[in-house]
């Protein structure tokens, strides 16, 4: 796979967006550059034949993270952040120079390491691909994600639930409430027509996950992003989500996965060792619940934290 013009352009774009995201004076401008970096990197993943990652990057990397950053910048830049942060305390010149030298050294070491070892070593490719065929899951990434290294994914779902708990703790325990903003009708129309398509796409991704690019994370992220957009447009009546229900929904993904992991142990097999006949069924079930849970988490993370602190006072105990 030799270097094409597109690759060079893409790489240049990536570096340029990254540099300006860090260097730009105005906070909003740097966040916009970061979001464009996210989109370019989604393209890069496709060039590197990693469709699963491209999907996740687009939905989470550029979408959810971008939304979170914009919301945070909105709150912090409006001057209610302590003056020191806004004035971007000038780091002392020496720290700046030292940092640059250290970063340069890091880059040199990394580059030298990459150049001195053959990139095209076989590594685990063959083993993983044959393993996936044995197990009967067409999409090898899903096979690795949910079977060979299922334990990683279990902990990763725990990370997501932990993030929500952290955000809730920081809003001192107020339950996740879906807030809404007024918006102009044209955007509402567009979003209204998009919503069912997003729902359908998410459902498809879960189903197709085992055989083609897709899976719990991608569909959950997509669904979550959809809910965020709906929320932003005020399309969701400010439904007073009963705290117990929202907590259960958030924890459902992890609890389901833990149940699927512990069931084999009860049946005398190893942790996370699905029974051969039920493998696809269990994986699909787990993926479904996981997708729902991730969607709630992504939406919850954004909507819960997007409630500006003063409006959040009501929730404070």
């Amino acid at each position: 796979m030799n270097v094409a013009v597109l690759d060079v352009m893409l790489c240049a774009g990536l570096v340029w967006c990254a540099v300006s995201a860090l260097v730009k004076r105005d906070l909003f401008a740097s966040i916009v550059m970061f979001i464009s970096f996210g989109l370019l990197s989604a393209l890069a993943w496709i060039r590197l034949a990693a469709p699963d990652i491209a999907l996740a990057e687009a939905a989470i990397g550029a979408g959810a993270t971008g939304a979170l950053l914009l919301d945070a910048a909105g709150v912090l830049a409006r001057g209610d952040g302590s003056a020191a942060e806004d004035a971007e305390r000038r780091t002392p010149r020496s720290a700046n120079v030292l940092g640059t030298i250290a970063a340069g050294a890091l880059f040199a070491a990394l580059a030298w390491a990459l150049l001195s070892t053959p990139l095209d070593a076989p590594r685990l490719a063959a083993a993983a691909l044959t393993g996936a065929r044995e197990v009967g899951i067409a999409n090898p990434v899903t096979a690795v994600l949910l079977d060979f290294r299922g334990y990683d994914t279990l902990l990763e779902v725990a990370v997501l639930l932990l993030a929500v708990m952290g955000v809730m703790a920081l809003r001192s325990g107020a339950p996740v409430s879906v807030a809404s903003h007024a918006a102009d009708p044209l955007v509402r129309l567009l979003v209204g027509s998009l919503a069912p398509a997003v729902l359908l796409a998410a459902a498809y991704l879960v189903w197709a996950g085992t055989s083609s690019p897709g899976g719990a994370f991608q569909s959950g992220a997509l669904l979550g992003a959809g809910v965020i957009v709906l929320g932003l447009e005020g399309m969701l009546q400010p439904m007073r989500v009963h705290p117990g229900a929202s907590r259960l929904l958030l924890a459902a993904g992890l609890l389901a996965f833990v149940a699927a992991a512990l069931e084999p142990v009860a049946a005398g097999r190893a942790l996370l060792q699905y029974a051969p006949y039920a493998r696809k069924g269990v994986i699909l079930a787990v993926e479904g619940i996981l997708a729902l849970s991730i969607a709630t988490t992504v939406a919850g993370l954004f909507l819960a934290s997007s409630v500006t602190p003063d409006r959040g006072k009501a929730g404070r105990p």
Binding site: A109, L110, W112, A113, L114, S116, T117, L119, A121, P122, R123, L124, A127, A128, G131, D147, F148, R149, G150, Y151, D152, L154, L155, E156, A158, V159, L161, L162, A163, M165, G166, M168, A169, L170, S172, G173, P243, G244, R247, L248, L250, A251, L254, L255, V258, A261, L262, V265, G268, R269, A270, L271, L272, Q273, Y274, P317
Partner: protein, 487 residues
């Protein structure tokens, strides 16, 4: 089960997943019943840790291939003597922290009315167990992140401005450490084609990117373990967090990334770059001991002093490393003894400091006169924990100091013995300054309104750590199932 040994591997998985599940259930149950579910989960975690330690003591090292996929494709959990001992440390400190938080949860206490403490705390415990037991470098990354987030959220749960500032700097330091570690994992995977820890050292031979990758991984772990000069985030975080959280952080969490660093160092000996790496880490450790003790002496607040003492005590764990090569068994035992006794003593000190700060309203030294009389249990716990800080007999850290002095005399590296012995004297300065201010007669003896909370959880912790020498036979039996010599 056919014979007890067969179920042993499953214990490893349960020791991680059960607290995790308990945390999720506790979160789902919400404010009213979160504590009850969490305490149940804590009890289960303690029992599982004891079961793992028992099976390692009787049957030697235990390993579990998750989903029965053999590494490098699958993830392996492994428990040799050292990780079993660290698991037991996490269980003991975990039990004490849970009891203290439960005791503190009566109305009016600062931390436990925020019920999210319980699920966050169980996630932290499960992640620490995960890091002790994992034999897969990428899985260790996920555990490191889990620990990072739960610790940051717990530190921030205090709500004070100081706690939030500390939590933010802790978070970014933790993220930088984890990302550096991740890049290291990427490079090592590039070079060796495997993520399994024990297959690492043979695969790492000679290739430049593997050595750089390993270096980056160690750099990340050094940042997470707060070894000097990467310790800047620890004092503020550990001193402004709620007492139970500081006890868990200083007692156990700091040691989890250290254990992984030791495993990597053992693997690095294969790559031939071991000795140089260990000497630099040991030098940093020596500076950490001096710097930590000096700053502890200079601090005006009890909790800040205890936090800086952690920076110094982490230095001890690294200063022993150059001896690991030729005398792996003895130094391995020294590491286990020091980590266990310091972990328990430090947790006891923070719990006691929490109680003392309650009684005096603040933990500034000049306001603590006479509190020793009001809170005898807390003062006694602080004293007993001081025995361990100084490395005086019959504490576990004395046993560790004894083994290190022996080994360094035998292997001719005298400076390590000098640093370890000198460190004990430095610790004496700040420990007894704290004790003296507690025992001092109050100049004005107006009756303070003592809040109804006593550091009952701190006393057994401090007592066990101060007499850990007596548990020597059991610890050395467990360490017999450990091989830290590079292959």
């Amino acid at each position: 089960m056919a014979e007890p040994g067969a179920f042993a591997p499953q214990l490893l998985g349960l020791a991680i997943v059960v607290p995790l599940a308990a945390g999720a259930v506790s979160f789902a149950l919400g404010r009213a019943r979160a504590m009850a579910a969490a305490l149940l989960g804590a009890a289960a975690a303690v029992a599982l840790a004891a079961a793992v330690a028992w099976s390692v003591a009787t049957g030697g090292a235990v390993a579990l291939d998750i989903g029965s996929w053999v590494p490098p494709l699958g993830i392996r959990l492994a428990a040799d003597g050292l990780s079993a001992l660290f698991l037991v440390l996490a269980a003991i400190v975990g039990a004490a922290v849970s009891v203290d938080a439960a005791l503190a949860s009566r109305p009016g206490a600062d931390v436990a009315d925020r019920w999210l403490f319980w699920p966050l705390w169980l996630f932290l415990w499960s992640a620490v167990n995960g890091l002790f037991l994992t034999a897969d470098v990428f899985n260790a990354y996920v555990c490191l992140e889990l620990i990072g987030f739960s610790a940051v959220a717990l530190v921030a749960s205090k709500g004070s401005k100081a706690a939030l500032d500390a939590a933010l700097s802790y978070l970014f330091a933790s993220v930088l450490g984890a990302m550096t570690y991740l890049v290291g994992v990427g490079l090592v995977y590039l070079a060796s084609g495997t993520l399994a820890l024990d297959a690492l050292d043979s695969a790492v031979h000679g290739s430049a990117s593997a050595r750089i990758g390993l270096g980056l991984m160690l750099a990340g772990l050094v940042l997470k373990t707060a070894l000097f000069p990467a310790h800047f985030w620890l004092p503020t975080a550990h001193s402004s967090a709620p007492p139970q959280v500081s006890a868990a952080l200083s007692g156990v969490v700091v040691k989890s990334s250290y254990l992984l660093a030791v495993r990597l160092l053992v693997a690095a000996t294969g790559a031939g770059s071991g000795p140089g790496l260990r000497l630099t880490l040991a030098a940093l450790g020596a500076v950490a001991i001096v710097w930590g003790s000096a700053m502890a002496l200079a601090s005006q607040r009890l909790k800040l002093m205890i936090a800086y003492s952690t920076v110094a005590q982490v230095g001890y764990l690294f200063v022993m490393l150059p001896l690991l090569e030729e005398r792996a068994a003895t130094v391995g035992l020294a590491i286990a003894l020091h980590a266990l006794s310091h972990g328990m003593a430090k947790a006891a000190m923070f719990l006691a400091a929490g109680d003392i700060a309650d009684a005096a309203g603040t933990d500034r030294f000049d306001a603590l006169a006479g509190v020793g009389r009001e809170r005898p249990v807390a003062a006694l716990s602080l004293g007993l924990a001081g025995v361990t800080m100084l490395g005086l007999p019959p504490s576990g850290s004395f046993a560790a100091k004894w083994l290190v002095v022996q080994s360094s005399l035998a292997s001719g590296q005298w400076w390590i013995a000098a640093v370890v012995v000198g460190g004990g004297l430095l610790a004496a300065l700040y420990v007894f300054r704290a004790l003296a201010s507690l025992l001092a007669k109050p100049d004005r003896s107006e009756a303070r309104t003592p809040k109804p909370r006593t550091a009952w959880a701190a006393l057994p912790l401090a007592a066990v750590s101060a007499t850990l020498l007596l548990a020597g036979p059991a610890i050395s039996r467990l360490m017999a199932a450990t091989s830290l010599a590079g292959r």
